[in-house]
């Protein structure tokens, strides 16, 4: 299956065409095709997973033939996509030391230009296998959920077709062998995102949001294309990801080229993964159906940027000097996003927008982790985040299904009517905040430990502070969100009710994963050897194409201090939130009393004025002022020149008239004036305004001149 992994994306792709062609004629309007295809893809992904584990173990056995090694006992069922914690493996040494694990690749020539061959293929290694599981599992659950959620929609078939296409392109993206293939799939998922955000395009707001997402992503794509082209030429005309990484780490590519390429690619990450300052499309993208938000804008597509960085990590590692610096662009972008996104989440009334900004903030954590060199922590957070954030989104969809609104001001007290949604939402929230022992605790903790321990002489400590601040804010805004939705009195209309099984079951599966996914990478300090750091062990690549061969590359150690601090911080955040909404104490009404707070609040409500910047300043700026400037130049400069010339001519004319004209030239002038008039009359005949006569003149003159050339030259 490792060699045959290309089958996995082909299945949903086939289902896309199948649904488009026959969907409407099927009894369930095509949804059964989509669910079946993604289900098969999920099973195949599990098989790939098992074989990958065996592959890793085999690689280690070969390097250490003396060690006794039991056969891998892998017990996987559909309810535990984080099966690593259930495995029993004999002890072995830490991740950095074992022999290189060859990725399984396969490639075909796509097309050829000149001497260069553009290839496509599959590259199966740790991160690819991990993403296969995440994408297929979340996609499967979202498919099931959607059969209820968008049931009866007028474009039901169309919806499932594009969910299938999205799944196919995302799977193609995660197993890309070449940067070219990565870019093509990158664009394909963007198109699917565009189509699905605008699913209900009859409302102007939705189609505007889709356009905004599409256009903002084009801005980042300029960076993507630039980066791919720079790498192509810098690495000696190859698109191959492994080759590029190996060359970058060997020092075969100049540092400048790597720096340029990584900065350009960061622009792509900023747009695709919703990092400041190109994040503005992501909250608007919530105009799409909720399952789409869960799948595309929380769990999978938006992490494409993080995945791309992790794929080309050799390039970023060398280009940004991640191992030896104390601050770099990647970490900076991530850090700003962590705080900026979390701040915005406070003032939203739309539950999905709270979650969207939360996603922005969490993606910031991942980018920051990659920036400080904590590769495994970033991917681990990606892994856990995909489950609990999808759960939160699907939960919000379930809530809106019940109260027919996304506005939290029309919710409240829903825990009585929707016990399952409430429980899963609480679990996922705890995971997001990072309460022990939920999934988010482990992954966020690893990021914080990475920020405090990795890096060069100056260290990345400042990002640890950013991360802790972000954690407080996360806890507080999620408490606000949960309180407004599930506690207090019901403020909406009608009678809310719990959703059906096709909604509740996926919620529970994701919630369970939100609890257990964190166990995939238990730190060695807390766990027996057989279950420690399974995630790192199986998913982190080992080989010449990954910076783990570099001396600076390290894994952060679990630190009980940081764990305690981050837990306390989380609890503090919750306490603040609870105090605010139940005890009515704290800073209530501060916006009326304190000017600074008011300014801050207004800034947050206006989303730091980014939208004003983009539409008002940049877009209008390029039409208004340019036009006004041109007008000003026209009025002042050109008119001035003309008027000045006119005045000069008048003065000169008077002088000439007085001294020369009257006495000397008068007669001659009169003669030539009548000559000019006669000539003018002749030429006036020629400028008839008839295009064809001009054409005749043109061709005739050309023929004449050609004749002259032939005769005389």
């Amino acid at each position: 299956m490792l060699e045959q992994a290309w089958i996995i994306p082909i299945i949903p792709a086939a289902s896309f065409f199948g649904i488009l062609l026959f969907g409407k004629r099927l009894p369930r309007k095509g949804s059964e095709l989509g669910v079946a295809a993604v289900g098969v893809a999920f099973v195949l992904a599990l098989v790939t997973q098992v074989q990958w584990f065996q592959h890793v173990d085999d690689a280690e056995n070969e390097s250490e033939p003396t060690e006794e090694h039991a056969a891998a006992v892998v017990d996987i069922d559909s309810e535990s996509a984080a099966p690593v914690q259930e495995e029993e493996q004999p002890a072995e040494e830490d991740g950095g030391e074992h022999a290189s694990i060859e990725p399984v690749t396969r490639e075909w020539t796509w097309f050829q230009f000149g001497e260069t061959e553009a290839k496509v293929g599959t590259l199966i290694d740790g991160p690819a296998v991990m993403m296969l599981i995440v994408v297929t599992l979340v996609s499967l659950l979202v498919h099931v959920y959607s059969t209820d959620y968008v049931g009866g929609d007028r474009r039901y078939t169309h919806f499932f077709a594009f969910l299938s296409l999205f799944t196919a392109s995302m799977l193609g993206l995660v197993m890309s062998k070449t940067t070219l293939q990565l870019m093509v799939c990158w664009e394909l998922v963007g198109v699917c995102s565009f189509v699905l955000i605008g699913h209900w395009w009859e409302e102007k707001a939705n189609s505007d949001a889709a356009l905004k997402a599409f256009i903002t992503n084009r801005v980042g794509d300029v960076g993507m294309i630039t980066g791919v082209i720079v790498l192509f030429f810098a690495a000696g005309q190859t698109f191959d990801i492994l080759d590029i990484n190996t060359q970058a780490l060997n020092g075969d590519i100049s540092h400048l080229a790597l720096l340029v390429a990584s900065c350009a690619l960061i622009a792509a990450v900023m747009s695709k993964s919703g990092q400041f300052i190109l994040h503005t499309w992501l909250p608007d993208a919530m105009a799409g159906p909720t399952p789409v938000s869960a799948l595309i804008h929380a769990a999978t597509m938006v992490v494409a940027g993080i995945y791309m960085v992790s794929r080309l990590y050799g390039v970023f590692w060398e280009g940004l000097s991640i191992g030896i610096s104390s601050v770099n662009l990647l970490a900076l972008v991530g850090g700003v996003t962590v705080l900026g996104g979390a701040g915005l989440a406070f003032v939203q009334n739309d539950i999905k927008r709270v979650l969207a900004y939360s996603t922005v903030s969490q993606l910031g954590y991942m980018v920051m982790a990659l920036g400080v060199g904590a590769w495994t922590a970033a991917l681990f957070h990606l892994f856990t985040h995909a489950f609990f954030k999808a759960c939160l989104f699907l939960g919000s969809g379930s809530v809106s299904h019940a109260v027919h609104s996304f506005d939290m001001r029309e919710m409240g007290g829903l825990r009585r009517w929707m016990p399952h949604t409430f429980k899963t939402f609480i679990i996922a929230t705890a995971a997001l905040i990072g309460i022990f022992p939920f999934a988010g605790f482990w992954s966020k903790d690893e990021i914080l430990a990475g920020a405090s321990q990795l890096g060069g002489p100056g260290n990345y400590r400042v990002f640890m502070v950013v991360g802790i601040l972000g954690a407080v804010m996360t806890a507080a805004y999620m408490t606000r969100c949960v309180y407004l939705t599930f506690f207090g009195e019901f403020r909406g209309h009608g009678q809310p009710h719990e959703s059906g099984p096709r909604i509740v079951v996926p919620l529970w599966i994701l919630a369970v994963l939100g609890v257990v996914a964190g166990l995939a990478n238990l730190p060695s300090a807390l766990a027996p050897d057989s279950v420690e750091l399974r995630f790192e062990h199986y998913y982190e690549p080992v080989g010449a194409y990954f910076p783990s061969i570099m001396p600076e590359f390290a894994h952060p150690e679990f630190s009980i201090g940081i764990a305690l601090v981050s837990t306390l911080i989380g609890l503090t955040g919750i306490a603040i939130g609870v105090a605010w909404y139940t005890g009515r104490i704290g800073l209530r009404g501060i916006t009326e009393r304190n000017r600074l707070a008011d300014v801050g609040y207004t800034t947050l409500v206006n989303k730091y004025y980014f939208d004003h910047l983009y539409t008002g300043v940049i877009a209008d700026g390029t039409k208004g002022p340019v036009a006004r400037g041109a007008n000003w130049v026209n009025q002042n400069v050109i008119d001035g020149v003309v008027n000045g010339a006119g005045r000069l001519a008048t003065v000169t004319g008077r002088w000439v008239y007085a001294h020369v004209d009257q006495q000397v030239v008068d007669g001659a002038v009169n003669g030539s004036a009548s000559a000019a008039q006669g000539g003018g009359q002749v030429f006036r005949q020629l400028t008839s305004g008839k295009v064809q006569q001009y054409g005749a003149l043109l061709f005739g003159a050309a023929a004449l001149f050609a004749g002259v050339f032939i005769v005389f030259v």
């Binding site: 230009f113 000149g114 008839k690 064809q692 006569q693 004449l704 004749g707 032939i710």
Partner: protein, 170 residues
């Protein structure tokens, strides 16, 4: 070779006749149909010149796409389909004069310069075991990559421009 020559002259005569008909017929649709004949003749000449890929493109683009556009243009502008009294303007004699002048100059220049040069008998552009088509595509995507990209952008711009010019709601 003689066979090729015979083909050339037969096709050339047909082409010139059809081309004259294009610019003299009084029926717009007939003019379009004659133009198709000219295009087909041009494609045949391309094949004689061993440029089969250009010939195929000629058929696809000119006969397939451009002529369809032309016919649409004729119908959308509701030009009278059928005999039109006067399809030639009052200055047609200028046109005759210019054309004859051009023909004379060019004919003299061509005969003067390439009086009796023959085309090489082996017109296959010799690639290493490849056909003409392979050579053409190779050089488009390597040596002439930038002109190619510029032409693509030009086509896109023309497409957008045509839509913007022709759409109604402004």
């Amino acid at each position: 070779m003689v066979a090729q020559n015979i083909f050339f002259y037969v096709i050339a005569a047909g082409m010139v006749g059809a081309a004259v008909a294009v610019v003299t017929t009084r029926n717009v649709v007939h003019a379009a149909l004659y133009l198709i004949a000219v295009f087909a003749g041009v494609a045949a000449q391309f094949i004689i010149l061993a440029a089969e890929f250009v010939a195929v493109t000629q058929v696809l683009i000119y006969i397939g796409a451009i002529m369809v556009l032309m016919l649409f243009g004729i119908m959308l502008t509701r030009a009278r389909i059928g005999r039109d009294v006067d399809m030639t303007n009052d200055h047609w004699w200028i046109g005759v004069g210019t054309a004859v002048l051009l023909a004379a100059v060019m004919g003299y220049a061509l005969i003067d310069r390439w009086g009796d040069d023959a085309l090489p008998a082996e017109r296959q552009v010799n690639a290493v075991g490849g056909s003409n088509t392979a050579t053409v595509s190779d050089s488009i995507f390597s040596q002439y990559l930038i002109p190619f990209e510029i032409v693509s952008v030009l086509l896109l711009a023309a497409l957008v421009g045509a839509i913007v010019i022709a759409r109604k709601d402004r």
